[in-house]
């Protein structure tokens, strides 16, 4: 917080450290996108910059929302998003093809993106309503599983494995923090070990191939393994200091596929090296830590769970993407928030951060508002 007589109070009250961090990450992202386009603001950097600042403004505006408003909106938002997910499914069925978005005139809405913060808020709200004595009861578990399972299933059949995993992980994190019994989390791990082959057999061809290739990337170096192989080459060849800005051959000669979206981290690492990569990881870690601090110092149970869940959302975004890019996870199509080109990830993350800022403001000014 900046305290100065010159800066007006409402501005000074903003969480400037977070805003600087986020702007720094996004700014670095713009530099990478500029290079990925071969040293040009078009077609990506300029557009991405506008989208980012648009959503940043929205996030800052959201920081004035009251906790009670957020709480009140949690279930309705979840409901609307679920209806939209079903709508997408119906449209896809009618249009005889997979579809992930709703065309609403000028904007395309991807409801599965909204589901990430929505599931966090809903579960946080749900566990706030559950009395402390009931938390180990079956009645505290099955509604949460239903709230989580229905949208996760809808997203999986879109098919969007990456988002489905994200939604699941966000929801499970909130349930874990809410204090559900340990065995509830240990048992599914065992179940997954059993169910994995069955799920595998039900997967779409391309999903199955991605997992095959992840387990053995050399099996198809020019086909599906190409993404991971080329990404590792880009990161590995960057070395400690990188090849230098605008000198990444992997991205500039198109060997790195999706170098401006899902694999933007590889584009970055090739030119900025390990130094750039560690810097970016630290910046994300600082953002997540800030969110976790908000959760720790929150006074209400809803704020605690929501803040932790929203930070976890950012964490899962970053970690799944980086694991995928470095060949530690299968390619599931999760972008690197704030850096990858594309509006939806920016939107989701900025919604999360906006909500976090709102919760944080409540803590500082809590006494006046409750």
């Amino acid at each position: 917080m900046i305290t100065s007589a010159i800066i007006p109070r409402p501005l000074a009250r903003l969480p400037w450290r977070l805003i600087f961090l986020v702007t720094g990450i996004a700014g670095f992202g713009l530099i990478v996108l500029y290079s990925a386009a071969g040293g040009s603001m078009r077609p990506w950097a300029l557009k991405q910059g506008i989208v980012f600042f648009g959503f940043l403004s929205i996030a800052v505006a959201m920081s004035w929302m009251r906790e009670s408003t957020i709480k009140a909106l949690a279930f309705p938002i979840y409901g609307v998003t679920l209806v939209m997910l079903i709508g997408v499914e119906m449209l896809g069925f009618v249009g005889k093809g997979a579809q992930r978005w709703l065309d609403l005139g000028p904007i395309r809405l991807q409801p599965s993106e909204f589901m990430k913060p929505a599931i966090v808020l809903t579960l946080a709200r749900f566990y706030e309503l559950v009395p402390a004595s009931e938390i180990r009861n079956w009645r505290a578990i099955w509604p949460a599983l239903a709230l989580l399972g229905v949208p996760a299933f809808l997203i999986l059949v879109q098919p969007d494995l990456g988002t489905c995993i994200m939604v699941m992980l966000c929801g499970v994190t909130v349930m874990f923090l809410a204090g559900l019994p340990w065995w509830l989390f240990a048992a599914p791990v065992g179940a997954v070990a059993v169910a994995a082959p069955i799920v595998y057999s039900m997967m779409h061809g391309y999903q199955r191939k991605r997992i095959d290739v992840f387990l053995n990337p050399e099996s198809d170096p020019l086909g599906a393994g190409y993404h991971i192989a080329q990404s590792k080459i880009a990161i590995g060849s960057g070395g400690i200091w990188g090849k230098g800005f605008l000198h990444g051959s992997q991205s500039h000669l198109d060997y790195l596929p999706e170098g401006h979206t899902d694999f933007v981290f590889a584009t970055m690492a090739e030119e900025w090296g390990l130094v750039g990569g560690v810097l970016l990881i630290c910046a994300f870690a600082a953002v997540i830590r800030w969110g976790m601090r908000v959760s720790q110092s929150a006074k209400t149970r809803f704020a605690q769970l929501a803040a932790a869940g929203l930070s976890a959302t950012v964490f899962f975004y970053v970690s799944i993407n980086l694991m995928m890019v470095m060949g530690l996870a299968p390619v599931v199509g999760v972008p690197l928030p704030l850096v990858s080109f594309g509006g939806s990830a920016v939107m989701t993350v900025m919604l999360c951060l906006g909500l976090l800022m709102a919760l944080e403001r409540q803590q500082r000014t809590g006494s006046k508002l409750s």
Binding site: F176, G236, L253, F315
Partner: protein, 627 residues
């Protein structure tokens, strides 16, 4: 236990610790993984990235020349015109293939091949449209180039053999590498450049490492989609080495022409060094048309010809030596102490066991000299029986028959020189009188190749164990002396001189030169059973005619061995060819006059007759089958 709000908040902070710890662990894992990739494996990935970035477009080297002993070209590169398509530069939505096919008059097969290669090609790699384009067509494409984006007309080089079929079996030919050769060469990218040829047969194949040269390279930066970004520093190519052969181009060509339409082989050797001066197998294919890719009709004409033009008869043809073995046999007899004055009376045949062997004539009393001169079999049958076959065979084998020579040939069949030990090992039976009889006149198990047919007289003439050689590189190794009494050699050389110059079997083939005499020995090898000697019968049943010779008889310089398949008597078919080839070595004018007169009689030069033959074959193959 009842859980209270206080409990709940303790659980929450504990679980937040777990979550935070897990997140930190993941963060550490990511940083560690990145460090592993970027530091520990940096070198590996840098190499991979570099091999992605830079592509080498090989620039094919020019193939080394093959020249004769006097520096005359045997295989050279002629500039030729070729047309390629660079797929990357093609205009979209415009099918250029029919236009170019029309300009170059390509057939449907070619059009289909081009389309297939265009689909498989990587953008920057040219697709061959046509090789060896005629200048008019090349010019027609060149003037339209501005209107044909993506089409490239270039001058390249193609292999040319000035002597055509005369050097076919010696040099072989070149051709585009097939899949097997590409694999065998570790997928050398040079081999798949359009228009690049490798040696496929003969010396072209064996000398490939010397002739190929080192490709240059245009290093370029290429995008993943095959678009050229920029050209980096090029690496110049290095032409293949010139290889000099011991062959005398003039003699080689002369002998090939002199054979006319007969099927046979002739090898000439320089008696001083062992240098092979001629290596002729006729009839032969034209290596020029093979190197351009041979047409189906021409291939069929070659492969169905009963004179087997596709077989290298010098290295792979095996024939009974016939009476050409006799001088060597005589040396074997002398070594075992047979008196050269000893006489055997020839009554027209000889009884061995229950078989009667018939001689060609009733020769009367024969000593060694007259038996060689008149080629009397009876003398050799009788003398063979009183000598040790093992020792005699050793002598003949030492002089070359049945020997394998260290020559740069892809395949060499060296035949058999039978001995009692060999017979026991191979057929598990002991040596009989009739084996001696057959061997002493070069029949039975005796099989030799035409190279041995020249090495034999060369060794007798030189008195040294000459090793034949084909490559000029390096000095010839000094040959050891033959382990024979010089007086014995003199007897045999004298007898061989008599064969051509006194009352012998080849008196008709005296050299038409003053002061130079040729020494020789005729041979007639049975193809069919004894007793049914078909000098006049069907071509394929007639005897092979052989002749070995050296000249001058007193101071030998050259030795020649020749075989004419189904030529009948050695004296009538093979000896005249050897005579004229030998004449060529001493007096080219005289020899060429003889040849021109003969060629007029045969109906044109070799090239003219070949062209006519192919034309006739084409016409015949186009008339529909009566069946």
């Amino acid at each position: 236990m009842r859980i209270t709000t206080a409990h709940q908040s303790i659980t929450f902070s504990r679980r937040m610790m777990v979550l935070g710890g897990a997140q930190a662990a993941v963060g550490g894992l990511l940083v560690g993984r990145m460090g592993w990739l970027a530091i520990a494996q940096n070198e590996k990935y840098q190499l991979l990235s570099e091999s992605n970035r830079v592509q080498l477009i090989p620039v094919p080297p020019r193939r080394g020349w093959i020249i004769d002993r006097n520096g005359k070209p045997l295989a050279i590169n002629r500039s030729s015109f070729r047309v390629d398509i660079i797929p990357q530069q093609l205009e979209k939505d415009r099918d250029i293939v029919p236009e170019i096919a029309n300009l170059l008059a390509l057939n449907d097969d070619d059009v289909e091949r081009i389309r297939r290669e265009l689909v498989d090609s990587r953008g920057f790699r040219p697709v061959s449209v046509a090789d060896n384009v005629a200048y008019e067509q090349y010019a027609a494409v060149t003037v339209r180039l501005p209107d044909l984006p993506g089409v490239q007309a270039t001058r390249g080089f193609s292999r040319y053999y000035p002597d055509g079929p005369a050097v076919a079996h010696l040099l072989g030919y070149v051709g585009t590498a097939n899949a097997k050769e590409y694999e065998a060469d570790n997928k050398n990218p040079l081999l798949i450049i359009p228009g690049f040829k490798i040696g496929k047969q003969g010396l072209e194949k064996v000398l490939e490492p010397y002739l190929r040269g080192v490709p240059g390279g245009q290093r370029v930066e290429i995008t993943a989609k095959g678009k050229l970004v920029k050209e980096l520093d090029p690496k110049p190519d290095r032409s293949g080495q010139t290889v000099q052969l011991t062959i005398d181009q003039g003699l080689q060509q002369y002998a090939a022409r002199r054979m006319g339409d007969q099927s046979g082989a002739l090898v000439a050797i320089d008696v001083a060094s062992g240098d092979m001066l001629a290596f002729v197998s006729m009839p032969a294919f034209d290596p020029n048309s093979f190197s351009e890719g041979i047409g189906r009709t021409e291939w069929k004409a070659l492969s169905t010809n009963d004179h087997i033009p596709l077989l290298n008869k010098v290295a792979q043809g095996l024939y009974p030596s016939g009476s050409t073995i006799k001088p060597a046999m005589a040396l074997g007899f002398l070594k075992q102490g047979v008196d050269p004055k000893r006489r055997v009376v020839c009554n027209g045949g000889y009884q061995i066991g229950n078989r009667y062997f018939r001689c060609d004539d009733v020769h009367g009393a024969m000593d060694m000299r007259s038996a060689i001169e008149r080629s009397c079999n009876t003398y050799f049958w009788a003398t063979g029986l009183i000598t040790d076959p093992e020792q005699t065979t050793e002598m003949v084998n030492n002089l070359g028959y049945g020997q394998d020579f260290d020559l740069p040939l892809p395949t060499q069949r060296f035949g058999t020189m039978p001995s009692p030990k060999w017979l026991q090992k191979k057929y598990h039976r002991s040596w009989q009188g009739y084996d001696s009889a057959n061997t002493s006149i070069g029949q039975g198990y005796v099989l030799i190749n035409p190279m041995q047919l020249a090495v034999m007289p060369a060794r007798i003439a030189a008195g040294k164990l000459l090793q034949p050689r084909l490559l000029m590189a390096g000095k010839p190794k000094p040959a050891p002396e033959i382990n024979v009494d010089p007086a014995h050699l003199a007897i045999v050389r004298d007898a061989m001189t008599a064969v051509v110059n006194e009352r012998g079997t080849a008196v008709a083939s005296k050299l038409p030169l003053d002061g130079i005499m040729m020494a020789g020995k005729t041979g007639t090898a049975q193809v069919f059973r004894l007793g049914e000697r078909g000098h006049q019968g069907t071509w394929a049943l007639r005897d092979h005619a052989l002749f070995i010779a050296f000249a001058p008889a007193d101071k030998p310089r050259y030795a020649i061995g020749c075989i004419i398949e189904h030529g009948g008597f050695g004296a009538s078919a093979a000896a005249p060819i050897v005579r004229d080839s030998m004449t060529y070595l001493f007096d080219q004018q005289k020899a060429l006059q003889t040849l021109e007169a003969l060629e007029q009689q045969w109906g044109g030069t070799l090239a003219e007759r070949n062209a006519r033959q192919l034309q006739a074959f084409k016409a015949a193959s186009q008339t529909p089958d009566p069946a």
